[in-house]
């Protein structure tokens, strides 16, 4: 029996990692695990914080109801109502999804823990894809909620353009979100907390040029040029064809997809450059103080 004065032996250190474990196992295993880290963190945060519930239900619900009522007040035809509500859904889905991508960096900005993330052997793909996957999930929930409200309150058929069209439209929305989310991360790593508001502002600006509630043909020439460079313009156009509107572009889906791929690659490169700059200027450390 041990005497009261006897000190408990110290707890053992965790077992050492072997070379395979130290490298994260196989390449694929390490890629999946690192990506899942960001996805899981976003899921935990979404479950635990009340403002995430607002993002997911309150604002999309309010947007659908207020815009639907506006179409009633203006006595719009079902076809024109569809035009407006497609824009409403697009804005909400893109907003929610791109915020998730931006949170991959914003959570660390708000908690001043930025340096720990960039001290680990991760790439931009891990944080971007991990956070984006959760954003896609939340975007689909938003779409579902708005579909229910739209059908129930305004007899708007969200599947009217066909399931395949809905899928392509949502894919376009989510690719735009990935691009915008990476852009927000880039701005934050270039300008620090001053650029935080871009997480909420940037998507509205893009939607304005993409023809959220109107055809881009009504925009002035210079703005139409900007519209033509935004992938979502083409996805909105293609989806609205399903509701009987004429397409303003040739091959809108292909053009939208091609532009998305180019912009996502550019956004990835821009974020990599912003991280390198933040390492050079010391901003990475300042954001952790």
């Amino acid at each position: 029996m041990s005497s009261p004065a006897e000190v408990a032996p110290p707890l053992p250190l965790p077992p050492p990692l072997d070379e395979i474990e130290r490298g994260g196992g196989t390449w694929l295993h390490a890629e999946v695990v690192k990506t899942w880290a960001f996805a899981h963190r976003n899921i935990i945060m979404a479950r635990r914080n009340v403002f995430f519930v607002f993002e997911l239900t309150f604002w999309p619900g309010v947007a659908m109801l207020s815009h639907g009522l506006l179409t009633r007040f203006l006595d719009l035809t079902p076809q024109m109502t569809a035009f407006i509500l497609v824009g409403t859904v697009a804005l909400s889905a893109v907003q929610v999804c791109q915020l998730d991508v931006a949170y991959a960096v914003l959570f660390d900005i708000w908690s001043k823990s930025m340096k720990h993330q960039f001290l680990t052997p991760i790439g931009i793909r891990h944080l971007a894809v991990g956070a984006w996957v959760v954003g896609v999930g939340r975007g689909i929930i938003v779409w579902g909620l708005m579909a229910v409200i739209g059908t129930w309150a305004f007899a708007f058929d969200f599947l009217g353009a066909g399931v395949a069209s809905v899928a392509v439209f949502l894919l376009g929305c989510f690719l735009t979100s990935l691009m915008v989310g990476l852009l927000v991360c880039t701005l934050v790593l270039l300008f620090g907390t001053r650029a935080e508001s871009s997480a909420w502002a940037s998507v509205n600006l893009i939607m304005m040029f993409a023809g959220i509630y109107y055809p881009v043909s009504i925009l002035p020439a210079w703005a139409a040029t900007v519209s033509a460079a935004i992938p979502l313009t083409y996805f909105l156009d293609a989806f609205r064809v399903g509701y009987g509107f004429p397409s303003q572009f040739g091959y809108p889906i292909l053009t939208g997809l091609a532009l998305s791929v180019v912009y996502v690659a550019l956004a990835h490169w821009a974020l990599a450059a912003a991280i390198t700059r933040a390492r050079r200027t010391g901003l990475l450390l300042k954001l952790s103080e």
Binding site: V33, N49, S288
Partner: protein, 311 residues
């Protein structure tokens, strides 16, 4: 083999509009740390300690010079370096809404650890750093001491070969500091981890470190084992006396006496060579009619070396 090797590192920060304000943090810092050593980096505030550590940890790019960790360049081989090092800071912060196990799981995954292996490792670290009772507490509700223990646990996730500890006991209660130091010593003893430590606490550096570098104004002023430094700096030895009555005037004028510090009946007399000066000092005090109640000769504290170098 060297665990850390830095040569002529320089870093200047630019701020303000168009980067018009310049702050030079490092100007040609070099150091070499052998594998398995506990290495202390000491210096006053703004000396460049954290900047140097951040460059070595791949968080900051140097303007000039190079650094290698375990033979890998911190700029060109940064990804491989990150896999093999980790860092804990005294002022570390993690995502506020996450609980300790969630914080560890998140960062563990960023090192590619997953599944049961990660779960066991997180569990072991929670126990090692005495966080079991606080498993369900969100980070922002943890005390400073618990946050620092969590920072240490996070720093051990990837079983790092090189560990940077930036002021790890800053603001901790003495008993927590002692336990944390014990863990640091164990890491080296049981794992052979190379540890680079910055601290303001001289006693901590004296207790833990095999070697110490003093940094000031972005330059390494001296690098050696603590005992060697104390001798190298030649700030003398201290003869501590308790006298009755208190020391008379004129003591400071005696040959070989560098400094006299009086605290009531107690006296710290710094001399060039204690062996030579002690008999002379005792004789002089006796001649003055002073009774010597106690007498000790001691080496200078590391703090005194630091003060001397920081001048």
């Amino acid at each position: 083999m060297l665990a850390v090797e830095a040569h002529d590192l320089a870093k200047t920060f630019h701020s303000g509009w168009l980067g018009r304000r310049h702050t030079t943090a490092l100007q040609g810092a070099s150091l070499a740390v052998p594998r398995g050593a506990i290495f202390g980096l000491l210096g006053p505030n703004g000396a460049g300690k954290t900047t140097l550590l951040s460059i070595l940890a791949t968080l900051l790019l140097p303007d000039r010079g190079y650094a290698r960790i375990l033979g890998l360049d911190v700029v060109t081989d940064a990804m491989a370096v990150r896999q093999r090092l980790n860092m804990a800071s005294g002022n570390a912060s993690f995502v506020w809404s996450l609980r300790p196990a969630e914080v560890l799981t998140f960062y563990g995954r960023l090192y590619g650890l997953g599944g049961r292996a990660l779960a066991l490792r997180v569990d072991a670290l929670i126990d090692l750093c005495e966080l079991r009772e606080h498993r369900r507490t969100e980070y922002n509700e943890l005390s400073t001491g618990l946050k620092q223990r969590l920072a240490l646990a996070k720093a051990l996730l990837n079983d790092p070969e090189v560990l940077f500890l930036d002021e790890p006991t800053l603001g901790l209660d003495p008993d927590v500091s002692i336990r944390l130091r014990e863990q640091v010593a164990r890491l080296r003893r049981e794992r052979g981890t190379t540890i680079i430590l910055t601290t303001h606490y001289m006693r901590e550096a004296d207790l833990l470190c095999d070697e110490i570098a003093f940094i000031k104004g972005g330059r390494i002023l001296a690098q050696a084992p603590p005992d060697v430094l104390k001798r190298q700096i030649r700030i003398g030895e201290v003869i501590a006396l308790r006298l009755d009555p208190a020391a008379p005037a004129g003591l400071a004028e005696l040959p070989g006496v560098l400094e006299v510090r009086l605290r009531g009946p107690e006296l710290d007399c710094t001399v060039d060579v204690a062996e030579k000066r002690l008999p002379e000092l005792l004789r002089w005090l006796h001649d003055q009619g002073v009774v010597i109640r106690d007498c000790q000769v001691r080496e200078p504290e590391l703090e005194e070396v630091f003060v001397e170098l920081a001048r």
